[in-house]
């Protein structure tokens, strides 16, 4: 299983602004692969193009050129129902600002991807309860998002992202709005899910502590991948130090 790529990114470019008007090239040719079951981090300063990259990978935006394949399927040109199906079945996202529907309870939020696929109610209930207990939110299922703390909200969002058993989980600064202990809890959960369920995770962050949970880190600067760091068998604390050192030289 190791070293089977689940996602390949080839020569990805993104230019904002229409031709003729003021243009800005946010991504200037990005290449990398993510293997099945890998936990990869993407780091970079604010404005370096992390969100732009993640949006391309997660089908939320289209690149100017280049190709992304997930599960051998090219995704950059998906449209309409194919795109919707792909998002519903193959990938899950977690955003910094939770992106929960405040009109629905935690349970209903988590169940949404399944109800969208018209899964029977009998199957939905155990699935939601299962993922909720894994993420430690079983007791909050009847709460509305505004009745939850930031950490709880983010775990609900994670549960929603995971309920379809996606091939890839994307996170854009998921700990950005959390206090340090909630952030630590969430990252521990990510590691656990990654280990136990072999879900591949791609985490975008500018925070070295979050990044230290990853197995491999790509550093992005000015729209290009500048450096790569592998954790190997290093304990997390040491890897954290290594990240700090790398950032010190990389950000110059």
């Amino acid at each position: 299983m190791p070293n089977t790529p689940i996602m390949t990114v080839a020569n990805l470019h993104k230019t904002y602004g229409k031709a003729g008007s003021k243009q800005y090239e946010a991504l200037k040719g990005i290449d990398f692969t993510v293997n099945e079951g890998e936990f990869v981090g993407i780091m970079g300063a604010s404005g370096s193009g992390k969100t732009t990259l993640l949006n391309m990978l997660a089908t939320l935006d289209q690149p100017t050129s280049g190709e992304v394949t997930i599960h051998q399927q090219p995704i950059t040109h998906l449209k309409g129902n194919q795109l919707a199906d792909f998002r519903a079945k193959e990938i899950g996202f977690i955003f910094q600002d939770f992106n929960l529907l405040e009109t629905m309870t935690a349970y209903e939020n988590i169940a949404l991807p399944l109800t969208l696929q018209n899964v029977a109610m009998k199957q939905i209930k155990p699935a939601v309860e299962n993922v909720a207990s894994q993420l430690g939110i079983a007791e909050f299922l009847t709460n509305y998002p505004n009745e939850l703390s930031g950490g709880q909200k983010q775990r609900v969002a994670a549960a929603r992202a995971l309920i379809n058993q996606p091939a890839m989980l994307f996170g854009d600064e998921p700990t950005g709005a959390l206090d340090s202990s909630s952030a630590r809890e969430l990252l521990d959960l990510f590691s656990k899910i990654n280990r136990e369920q072999a879900v591949s995770i791609l985490l975008v962050t500018h925070d070295p502590f979050s990044a230290s949970y990853c197995q491999r880190i790509l550093f992005i600067k000015d729209g290009r991948i500048g450096q790569e760091l592998k954790r190997g068998d290093l304990p997390r604390k040491d890897f954290y130090q290594q990240i700090l050192d790398t950032l010190g030289t990389f950000e110059q």
Partner: protein, 597 residues
């Protein structure tokens, strides 16, 4: 500095302000339109002759004021929700409360005054346009109709500005008394749908009772008079609100138990509805009432419109009669292809008109004899001279004579007696076409030709027969028809702007929800379907209640109409359903465009 900040807030949200302004302008324009008719006493007197109409208008005006009150309260909370965040920010950066209060007050008042002035102007134009359209398409004659009517403008301005002063005060208190942080995060507070069975049962029973009382008093308007309308107004408004309040929450909680509710986006749609349930019950009650008023007004207007030809047809068996028609006139009659045409000769004395009995025996004169009490049920009877002499309906022959001879007694003589009379002999040519309404223009030309040599034909009241009856009855009922259609259009527009306002004001908040659903892998079809369903619920519920209200409300008009107010109601109902459907489709389109981009 702060004023500058406030202005930038204004610029950033011009779309929301556009919704707010167009809603308010529409509302004040319609209020003005209504008042322009309701307060114009000379118009009402000249065109209806029924004192009840004036009373109905006064109550209508009260009702519209209540609706306006709710509407402005609603618009104001929209304005408030729009500005809460901005003002919270101002407070965080250290603006003084007094200064902010001043700004809020000013902004609210400014919005109100500008929208009302524009609304009055727009209302004047609307009144002008709609009345021209109705007059031309229905063939109405109206007196003292004024599109610009100062007292109505004044009343509109005073009501709206007064309400906005109150709203400004309310905003001042809420915004300055709420902590800044709460203002910043006040937008996303869901309402947990709560079932309180006892309270709901009370509301259902109370609401049903209130509505029943309202229906009863409308049906007994003859005994209750003005009081009946007052009772109906209060009880039906309150009853509708209670029923919606109790049933709507229950309905959503109940629907969530079904498996279908958990397929696709159905659960999302139900949650959307329950999220804003309290706003919805108010708006739905208003829409149900407006629906009933609009449909009721159009149905009544149409009832009067349909009644005019029926009454004309029941007035006489003949379309028109000419005395001594010339050759051209006879040609014109022949061109009309009359069903019957008879020449009766006569001589006029001081007190009587003498005819020859033999002519009537050879060509009997048809009278329309009433059957029972209903003015429109008649039996056509052919009369010989003898029968006609005895008949109480012989006045129908008299009517066909020209002015001056109409009230003289008809006497049928033997030929010898007739020939002894020295007066000059004249001919009365009576005729009936198949359809007097279809032949109105040709008949009008004929009368115009005749008027050239006989001044009697210049005035419709000098003539007899269906043609003249049609003209007279139409002018009598023009006012009622006009009001029916005019108010129908006005209420429909009000309804439209109410629902539009409600739906568009929620659209901005829904935008991010739909974007989120899109990210989760919802197909475009599922999204548009969810929108269609959500808006359909908002249209169908008040529609049903509105139709029920109208069916009972028409009871009021059995005292004003000759025919039953229920005959042929399928037509206005169908037309209204069509308009409502078109309106639904437009709303769905606009909403989809905003939310899905």
């Amino acid at each position: 500095m702060l004023t500058k900040l406030a202005m930038t807030g204004f610029k950033n949200r011009w779309r929301d302000y556009l919704v707010l302004f167009s809603g308010l302008i529409m509302s004040s324009a319609i209020f003005y339109m209504f008042e322009a008719l309701a307060t114009n006493q000379s118009f009402l007197k000249a065109n209806t002759g029924i004192s009840l109409v004036s009373i109905i208008f006064q109550f209508g005006s009260v009702l519209l004021t209540i609706i306006t009150l709710v509407y402005i309260g609603y618009a104001n909370s929209f304005l408030l929700s729009m500005r809460k965040r901005d003002y919270g920010l101002f407070m965080l950066v250290g603006a003084r409360k007094g200064k902010i209060g001043q700004l809020i007050w000013l902004e609210t008042l400014l919005v109100g005054v500008v929208a009302t002035l524009a609304g009055i102007l727009f209302g004047t134009l609307l009144t002008m346009g709609i009345s021209q359209l109705l007059i031309n398409s229905l063939g109405l004659t109206l007196h003292h109709l004024a599109a610009w009517y100062f007292p109505a403008a004044l009343k509109t301005l005073i009501l709206y500005v007064g309400l906005f002063l109150l709203a400004g005060l309310f905003n001042l208190i809420t915004l300055t008394k709420t902590p800044a942080l709460k203002l910043l995060h006040s937008n996303d507070q869901p309402n947990r749908p709560q079932l309180k069975p006892v309270w709901q049962a009370i509301q259902i029973i109370g609401g049903t009772l209130l509505i029943a009382v309202g229906y009863w008093s409308m049906a007994n308007l003859d005994k209750l008079q003005m009081l009946g309308i007052g009772i109906a107004l209060v009880t039906i408004v309150m009853g509708t609100y209670f029923l919606f309040n109790a049933i709507f929450v229950g309905l959503i909680v109940w629907l969530k138990h079904f498996a279908v509710a958990h397929r696709g986006l159905n659960n999302f749609t139900l949650s959307q509805l329950s999220f804003r349930i309290h706003n919805y019950t108010k708006i739905l009650s208003i829409v149900a009432l407006l629906f009933a008023l609009a449909l009721g007004a159009i149905t009544t207007g149409m009832g009067f419109h349909r009644q005019v030809p029926m009454m004309a047809n029941a007035s006489n068996a003949y379309d028109l009669a000419l005395v001594n028609p010339t050759k051209t006139e006879r040609d014109q009659i022949r061109a009309l292809n009359p069903k019957t045409q008879t020449d009766y000769h006569f001589k006029v004395a001081k007190k009587a008109v003498y005819y020859q009995a033999s002519e009537f025996n050879a060509h009997p004169f048809t009278t329309l004899n009433m059957r029972g009490k209903n003015q429109l049920a008649f039996k056509a009877v052919d009369n010989s001279a003898k029968q006609l002499q005895k008949s109480q309906y012989s006045y129908q022959l008299g009517q066909l004579q020209t002015d001056g001879n109409q009230l003289k007694a008809a006497v049928f003589l033997t030929p010898s007696a007739y020939h002894k009379l020295a007066q000059p002999e004249k001919t009365l040519t009576v005729f009936a076409t198949k359809d007097v309404i279809a032949n109105l223009p040709a008949l009008k030309r004929l009368v115009k030709t005749a008027a050239k040599h006989d001044a009697n034909y210049k005035v419709a009241t000098n003539l007899g027969g269906r043609y003249a009856a049609y003209l007279q009855i139409n002018s009598m009922y023009s006012g009622l028809q006009f009001m029916g259609f005019f108010l129908g259009v006005a209420f429909l527009a009000m309804l439209a702007s109410c629902l539009m306002f409600k739906i568009l004001s929620g659209a901005a908040a829904d935008q991010h929800r739909y974007q989120m659903l899109d990210k989760l892998g919802t197909t475009h079809r599922q999204l548009t379907g969810a929108i269609r369903k959500e808006i359909a619920v908002l249209f169908i519920l008040p529609g049903i209640v509105g139709v029920v209200h109208v069916l009972f409300g028409l009871q009021m008009f059995k005292f004003l109409m000759v025919t039953s107010p229920y005959t042929g109601i399928w037509l206005p109902f169908l037309i209204f359903a069509g308009l409502y459907l078109i309106y639904y489709l437009i709303t769905v389109k606009i909403y989809q465009r905003i939310v899905l981009q």
